[in-house]
Symmetry: C2
Subunit: 498 residues, 2 copies
């Protein structure tokens, strides 16, 4: 890409102890077979040589090139674990269906552990299956992490979560390529069940790590779809119920950076390359239960009905209206009804409602209006002409249950600054970089409660995500990975300078 200023790596004999990122000379190159390369380097044997030392001090990490081919090949190869729906003819044109703690998730996890160990990391698995791969630095201390997740939606794509982990692996590869020694440890973390698709609480394992979700509650989450498996039973089954407590106190992080696809259309529409994510919008998840009365479709006059499906249809229609009015988002992703027969009016319908907005107050105001209007519509009162041309029926009951609350999140200025500097350096242009608020929840939300955090967004084709056709071009993936690498190194340098 034109805006990527790629320079060949030139190593010269010039040492700087102030530089956190250090390029090791070929004479100190480690055997690829060694699993603990940096531990083998005593201070006496260290030999730093690079003409880049001054550049590094100024934040120029441009010699540390992400290998786009390696990144993408590895990403697609590991998508063999849980391949989903085919949408095109090319080998990589399938989606993903890698539900948390499934057999395919286990395969991906095993690959992650093996690969990071081979790249010199020590791997720790905690009681939620969160897997921390740490590459030693010059000094002891908590690692600066790149993190994301390897689980996917049941009908997901190849980039959501996966790209962030693969970019972390590529970071380890580049550090190894160039024999970089960081000041403090750096690492990659794979968080469990970020999607919340199989066990219905998204980011449940980073939430436990942050001590915002009790371990027992997360362990007891039952899989959706009627199965009896829980998170704990599945962690045990696939061998990822670690002995280390799932807590920021047992596994502290110095910082957390997450590369992620935007999952929305803004970067593509604005023809920009990198989003500097300053925070995450607020959202709440609700379950709405409607109780009416089962009745025969042919013999029950419209006026005698308590039709739960008709009321659900009106409420969903209305939730979109209220979202529009408030500048929020409203979505129903799950709806079940009973008894479920063509000629029986459903007496019970249950559906989910996901309400989001940049500010907590907007979500609260939307929720208040939803509760008021849902009750009115259930009682048979019209709201905004929704009951026009309709036959009044019998009243129904509506229960409104809050399943999950994620307040608006503000990321850390140091991390945001590291991402912005890296994004401008990698793209070579501030105009290709924009500040953004994430529309989706991410493990970075929980990470940010216990350590400085920020995120990096790269464009999603057509803004599509949670869909097999989710796509981010290989050059955009490589840009994102390089911004991630630089952000971690800039933060490491910042720590060293303090």
């Amino acid at each position: 890409m034109a805006y990527l200023i790629r320079r060949s790596l030139q190593l010269h004999g010039c040492e700087s102890h102030l530089a956190t990122a250090r390029y090791l000379s070929p004479v100190n190159r480690l055997s690829p077979a060694s699993s603990r390369p940096f531990r083998l380097l005593s201070p006496k044997t260290r030999h730093y040589s690079s003409t880049r030392s001054a550049d590094v001090q100024n934040g120029d990490f441009s010699a540390l090139k992400v290998q786009q081919g390696r990144l993408m090949d590895t990403l697609h190869q590991t998508c063999a674990f849980g391949t989903g729906k085919r949408w095109g003819t090319e080998p990589t044109e399938t989606g993903m269906s890698r539900l948390a703690l499934s057999d395919s998730d286990k395969q991906a996890r095993d690959w992650f552990v093996e690969t990071t160990k081979a790249l010199g990391c020590k791997v720790t698995v905690d009681a939620m299956g969160n897997t921390f791969a740490v590459r030693p630095g010059r000094r002891e201390g908590p690692a600066t992490f790149a993190g994301s997740h390897l689980d996917t939606q049941p009908s997901g794509g190849r980039y959501d979560g996966i790209l962030g982990i693969q970019a972390g692996i590529e970071m380890l590869n580049v550090l190894k390529d160039h024999q970089v020694e960081t000041e403090f440890p750096v690492g990659v973390v794979n968080w469990t069940n970020e999607e919340g698709a199989r066990f219905p609480m998204s980011m449940s394992a980073s939430g436990v790590w942050a001590e915002d979700i009790p371990l027992e509650q997360a362990h007891n989450l039952q899989e959706v779809g009627g199965g009896s498996a829980t998170m704990k039973s599945e962690l045990e089954r696939i061998g990822y119920l670690g002995s280390v407590p799932a807590s920021y106190q047992s596994m502290p992080m110095a910082a957390h950076f997450e590369l992620h696809i935007e999952q929305g259309p803004i970067l593509e529409t604005e023809q920009q390359k990198v989003g500097v994510v300053k925070g995450v919008q607020a959202y709440k998840w609700f379950t709405i239960d409607i109780h009416g009365r089962d009745a025969h479709t042919g013999t029950t006059p419209l006026k005698s009905r308590a039709d739960a499906m008709l009321l659900a249809a009106r409420l969903i229609t209305h939730s979109h209206r209220l979202a529009t009015i408030h500048g929020a988002l409203a979505s129903t992703g799950i709806l079940t009804l009973s008894p479920g027969s063509t000629n029986t009016i459903p007496g019970h319908v249950s559906f989910t409602l996901d309400i989001r907005a940049p500010a907590d107050a907007t979500v609260e105001a939307t929720e208040a209006d939803l509760k008021r209007d849902f009750a009115a519509l259930a009682a048979g009162d019209d709201v905004d002409g929704l009951l026009a041309h309709s036959t009044p029926g019998k009243p129904l009951s509506v229960d409104f249950r809050t399943d999950f609350v994620s307040p608006a999140t503000i990321f850390h200025p140091d991390c945001i600054a590291a991402v912005r500097a890296s994004a401008e350096a990698v793209t070579g242009s501030a105009s290709l970089v924009r500040d953004m608020t994430s529309g989706a929840g991410h493990d970075s939300v929980y990470a940010s409660r216990r350590c400085p955090t920020s995120m990096i967004f790269v464009p999603s084709k057509n803004g599509v995500s949670h869909n097999p056709e989710e796509y981010t071009g290989p050059e955009d993936c490589a840009i994102g990975a390089e911004v991630l690498l630089q952000s971690v190194l800039r933060y490491d340098r910042l720590r060293a300078a303090q």
Copy 2:
């Protein structure tokens, strides 16, 4: 009940060969153990004695009393086969869940065969599992049938279908109690899969009998819910794949009378006791498939969405409006969506639509408007203010598939007359009887295509049906059973007179 003029049975020595229904004197009483009582009576040994002969000629069958206690006890005892959801504390206060050709349906069928054989019937099972129990008459010829079904909805009650069969059994009991010999055979038929709840085509087996549904199509119907069983495989499994062709040509019926609960509120509201059913309203079943695009709920602006669930909600809301405008009924009993995750906008929704009206033309006009307006709403065009206060999104596609068509049915005047005369005789008051059009489909629809047919309705408490709490009081059940008995005998008498 006050309006039921119950007279004690008095038998006197008076013979009438014109009377089709004959009361056998005690001296000819048959052993209860005999399975073929009437065949044992040669003309020489017949001795008719009844003071009722003149009454019988005039249509007064009031001596033939239904035993309410026996009828209800038997009904509730057989509800042990497939007991459903409990709704009250009394032993009989549960619903039914006896899906067609399930293990519990087999139990009910076995009971039916055993019982009717013990009451002197010859039992024939056809290739659809339809089970015909025929009690011989004085003459050879097709039987006049009482018929209905023993299968239920998954969350059904104790009366829909079941009452009609139990009243048929009670008819056989009363005929035996009074040693009545009919002119022609009479019988009881249990039709298979009337509900269409397990195998998604209602009245599929009477439809095959009428040669309106091909045998192979019905045999290949696959059970709903993802199982692999077909009607044929289940008929084989439970031993009800009969060797007699399922056809009115192999098993002709002289007439078909069906006692059924109203399943609606009209009789109760009007404080009437019996509905004389002159026909069945028209209906069509459709499946609507919506294809939009899966997308992330948090990152996809409203304007960028192709939200299949939102469109489904609007279409269901609108179907009710159009039904109101046309004086029709519209109902959605099944809705499925994919992928089914709280934070993924569904890209696909499929739902059923059941449209009914007394006249075929009304159903057709409603269907035409639905197709026009569904296409407009899918394209993003407003219809009747439904899109007010909404954010325009991306267009979606809508497929509109017709699954089933049941044109309006007109029953036979002779059968209607027999039911009306019987209803007035049993209730003692024309004001307690009303003409009705059935809102629901019944096996009588197909029966009526191949033989004279009518139906008898009795009140449904609160108009509730297809619900565990479906209820018809024991006295109303007994009135219905007595009207059924008299209707069959009146029709037999009519045949004899021709």
